[in-house]
Symmetry: D2
Subunit: 172 residues, 4 copies
């Protein structure tokens, strides 16, 4: 279940390969930005029809300095059909330009990040606040009105501040 | 131009008749809520296809205690074709349940509220903050992502506070 | 019920006023063409969203010499809301350019042509063959694939021929 | 160019593997039926969004005895990304149940059937009449109204008859 993670520091992404990025994308380097993660499979019809176009609209609407959109290819079925060589062509053909990480294969069918986050399936949309805390996880279709509102709520929060207040930054 | 009004107290609505309401709806009674006004004409195709369905989605998504959706029938052409008797049937057939005011006829083609607000046409979407200030005016189509974000930004502001700070309420 | 009329000569349209036409449009003058009649009400959401755009697509796709599209405003409720003055503005705003007849008011709520044809409601799409026989009547939404096929079937029939054969034209 | 083939006997499909079929599907065994061939690539966005759903609507609307829908996977780019193992998962996830043939790889990028037919790209929709003649080839999006009409025109032709007349079948 993702529920227990809501409000907690977002676990690191366990990614075996990144596309559309110069080197690994680390969540800890994205503090200060709201991070939107679209977890998808390239052969999942709901991801292609709804989830990924929504992620592209989010990328187009919000300034990149404020909102960073990431894709996470969380393959949990038909593994041989969705290898990185196929994903690469898919990203090219569908004009997806935000960074996309390949979720590292696990010991069972579920890839590692998908298991850590307890995702229910694809598409899943994750929202991480400016302080790196996971704040929302949506499985399936969710309206633009709702996602727009949720992102704006996170944008209106000051980095460094949490729901508990604005702490003095820890020093070494 | 509406631009000069942005950030100013929203002018009163000059309405000759209300539908879906028990008596006149006054903006000053809606302090503390974000107010969304959909200015439309019942025979405007863009209003029927985009503007009004979006207003209905806003009404459905946000709690009524936080966000009040209003319609404003701003007829500026084909006046004889869009009399209140036609509007009433229209609201019934399109299942519009939020309060809708008929913008009072002016001396020329433009009705009075439309003229006061300097609206560019229909559909127009107006956003008023918890303190009764006009904060945005959109003419034509605007995305759900954007409207969702703008409403949430206004919701995140405390009533009584403005961009200048949080003043002590004036007393008599 | 329309069912009993299928295959029979299409009854004359009882129309009190025509728009987008130079004088009355008579079915008997349209022999040799396939006639598509879109029966609608201007305040019927399904007509505005589906029926009328489909009629416009039919008009745009098939040559006017082969297929004549007609509208029939069959008001059976909210009569005062859909008077000809409102219909005229509606046709203008929705860019409807095919001839539209106002179905003559009856003694009850149903207008006369609607009653004669036994229509079940709006939108209804009627198809009349090259010989003036009613061949199909659809209530509600019907797919473009189906309508395209039905019109083509009627176009493939020779005028003068019927399902019974090709009679020698009667002479006086 | 496909144009030179219109009206000619449709060339045989050169297929290396069939899905959703018990053994090879041969055009010569489909005489008497109208055959609709959807040529596509599984990573072509226009195929996924428009071409394949239209083929599924055709399959659903017309009786299988009259109209046979076939898919043809004509990969001409990203070959390693669209191997049969990926296609198989794709067909499963998108609920495609009509027979789909993998166009045999050629010496260059173009697969063999695609080259023989001179297809301009994907999606392409081919229509073959009851006598096995190629009658239409559409590249890109084409409306349901048009395809419905074209299929119906072919259905209205008698098998064995051509535009030249109805020949006595040849005997051995």
């Amino acid at each position: 279940m993702t529920a227990r993670l809501i409000g907690q520091p977002a676990p690191a992404l366990d990614v075996s390969r990144w596309f559309n990025a110069d080197g690994p994308v680390l969540l800890e380097n994205l503090r200060g930005q709201v991070v939107v993660i679209e977890a998808f499979q390239m052969l999942c019809p709901g991801c292609v029809a709804h989830g990924l176009p929504q992620a592209q609209r989010i990328q187009a609407h919000f300034p990149a300095m404020s909102v960073q959109v990431l894709g996470l290819h969380t393959v949990f079925e038909h593994h041989a059909a969705m290898l990185p060589v196929s994903l690469e062509a898919f990203l090219h053909e569908y004009r997806i330009t935000f960074p996309v990480g390949v979720d590292t294969a696990g010991t069972g069918d579920l890839p590692k990040t998908m298991e850590t986050y307890g995702l229910r399936g694809t598409p899943s949309l994750l929202l991480i606040d400016r302080n790196g805390h996971l704040r929302a996880a949506h499985f399936g279709q969710v309206s633009d009105l709702q996602i727009g509102a949720e992102i704006a709520m996170l944008l209106s929060e000051l980095a460094g501040c949490t729901e508990d207040g604005c702490p003095v930054p820890a020093t070494g």
